[in-house]
């Protein structure tokens, strides 16, 4: 059974169809890329999967359970984590706090326990904190734990956002243009980083990337979106050879 299954999902904003009949099936442990020109509906697909938008029609299943129409926080609790195209860190909080805020989804002490700082509360807080620090060390941010998120260099902020999403212990991780705003060198090291965390955390990854060359390097399977429609799906060679994709990216020769 696929971890994430999107079938026949359509989203209309008034008369505009942002995404039409989108289908996706992610098997456990896959790394799949979603590419397409600007405005082709990539981020809309993410918003539909994570509940930020409700699909006009269609079904989204996570491990067989229908999740479309649920609130974003419910979908996060069920196991889909995401990052954002324009970084959305908790900027004025520390790196550690950013991660613990995600990790604490797994701790369920009561309000009374929190107000009175009971031993059970202390134990659980320590656990969340230790796990968050371990996670930060794993992604190479261990020595930055007490810095404010906004004081990190841009590349580290991108990593922190991924670490924060991983702290939710998700089944599926959605990365929205993780290399946006990076130079080619930085992008390459980020792609290594993504492959690395996929092995370490055994998470299924679905990522949007604007730069074709980067996504070709790490994704064994790629979907191409244009004007809300899936125009191609396959491995990097098939995508590169597909005339529809070339037309979408480069335009068509007028005869």
């Amino acid at each position: 059974m696929p971890v994430l299954e999107v079938s026949q999902v359509t989203k209309k904003f008034g008369g505009l169809t942002a995404v039409s009949d989108f289908n996706l099936s992610l098997e456990d442990g896959e790394l799949v890329g979603l590419i397409g020109p600007n405005g082709s509906g990539k981020t809309t697909v993410f918003n539909l999967i994570t509940g930020m938008y409700t699909p006009t029609s269609g079904v989204v299943r996570l491990s067989g359970e229908e999740i479309q129409g649920r609130k974003p926080h419910q979908i996060a609790q069920k196991g889909i984590a995401r990052t954002f195209q324009n970084l959305r860190l908790f900027k004025n909080l520390t790196v550690l706090q950013n991660v613990t805020i995600a990790r604490q989804m797994w701790s369920g002490y009561s309000f009374l326990a929190a107000a009175l700082h009971t031993p059970a509360f202390r134990a659980e807080e320590r656990k969340v904190r230790d796990e968050s620090l371990d996670l930060l060390t794993l992604v190479g941010l261990g020595d930055k734990a007490y810095e404010k998120a906004r004081n990190l260099p841009y590349g580290y902020q991108r990593r922190l956002e991924i670490a924060r999403a991983l702290a939710l212990k998700p089944k599926v991780l959605l990365l929205d243009e993780p290399a946006a705003g990076m130079n080619p060198d930085e992008s390459l090291s980020l792609m290594d980083f993504i492959q690395d965390i996929q092995e370490k955390f055994e998470v299924t990854i679905f990522l949007i990337e604007h730069h074709m060359d980067i996504v070709m390097g790490i994704c064994p399977r790629i979907l191409v979106l244009n004007f809300g429609c899936t125009i191609a799906e396959g491995d990097p060679e098939e995508i590169q050879a597909n005339p529809e994709v070339i037309k979408a990216y480069l335009g068509e020769v007028q005869q």
Binding site: K71, N92, M105, Y109, A114, A115, N151, L152, P153
Partner: protein, 298 residues
């Protein structure tokens, strides 16, 4: 001496209200210009329970907190759907409506003539005890998953939602706690003055609470406390100057906004360890201050 004690007591009352507003505005990022109404509801609830029903003061305090919190949930349910300035405006409207309702409350509230002969229970030690308990409780909440959720909502509501935080629910919890604090403040006030009038809880009082929190620094609990002590003391220090004293109050506020827009303490918290570090050398405090940390690479 009695005068000095009176000022201290008013500081305690204001502190209780400011702690609540600090949670809502400083830590959850929701501005409210209607918190005087929750103080008023707490004050009248407590006065009615103790004076008319003959209950002990502690029941009055609890009733005050409960009535204010419950009202905030009823009011918050529709109005918390509004974001940003619109919620603040709705809160302002609620504040004025509450004052007018109390004005027209007939025998129950005494109307504009006021509610008199409330037994005096709020002595300085009791007020101090309540505030200290309130501050400790608030600090504990802020240091838990609840506090971090509030701060996450303040920083970025959408990202908080994507991290599995039910932001609508947590905004409501924050409002209810802050209203309960304001309600308890009202109860303390009622049993100190022994007399209540709806005009005591007008928009000025709400604005005073909100501006104290901004003055101290949004996101700093100790900042709110320091600000409350300063802003309650200034008008008293300049009392011989009659109405001119409010000019100094205004001057203090305006100069903070001009010279230190992030508030007295910014988001920095004063702690015993921090103060010890400050005594050993100023290096420790300078290291924590956020100003110097901005990286040129970002």
């Amino acid at each position: 001496m009695a005068y000095f004690q009176g000022v201290m007591l008013i500081i305690c009352v204001n502190l209780m209200g400011v702690l609540g507003v600090s949670l809502l505005t400083g830590f959850t990022g929701i501005f409210s210009f209607g918190h005087a109404a929750y103080m008023a509801l707490g004050a009248y609830a407590s006065a009615i329970v103790v004076t008319r029903m003959g209950m002990p003061f502690i029941v009055g305090l609890l009733a005050a907190g409960a009535v204010a919190a419950l009202t905030s949930v009823v009011i918050g349910y529709p109005t918390l759907r509004l974001v940003g300035d619109y919620f603040a405006i709705a809160a302002l409207g609620f504040g004025e409506a509450t004052r007018l309702l109390l004005d027209n409350g007939g025998d129950l509230t005494g109307g504009p003539r006021g509610f008199g002969s409330i037994p005096k229970h709020t002595t300085l030690p009791i007020a101090f005890l309540i505030v200290v308990l309130g501050a400790i409780l608030m600090r504990n909440i802020l240091g838990s998953r609840f506090g971090r959720s509030f701060m996450a909502i303040r920083e970025d509501r959408l990202a908080a939602e994507a991290m599995g935080i039910d932001t609508s629910r947590f905004r409501m919890i924050s409002l209810a706690i802050s209203a309960a604090y304001a309600g308890v403040a009202g109860s303390m006030f009622a049993h100190y003055l022994t007399f209540l009038q709806p005009s005591m809880f007008d928009m000025n009082k709400s604005t005073e609470l909100a501006s104290t929190v901004v003055f101290g620094g949004l996101g700093s609990l100790t900042g709110s406390i320091v600000a409350c002590v300063i802003l309650t003391t200034i008008p008293e220090l300049f009392r011989p100057l009659y109405l001119w004293r409010m000019v100094f109050y205004g001057l203090a506020l305006v100069s903070t906004i001009v010279l230190r827009p992030q508030g007295i303490l910014g988001t920095y918290e004063v702690s015993i360890e921090g103060l010890k570090g400050l005594c050993r050398g100023k290096r420790a405090a300078a290291g924590v201050d956020k100003g110097g940390g901005r990286s040129c690479r970002s």
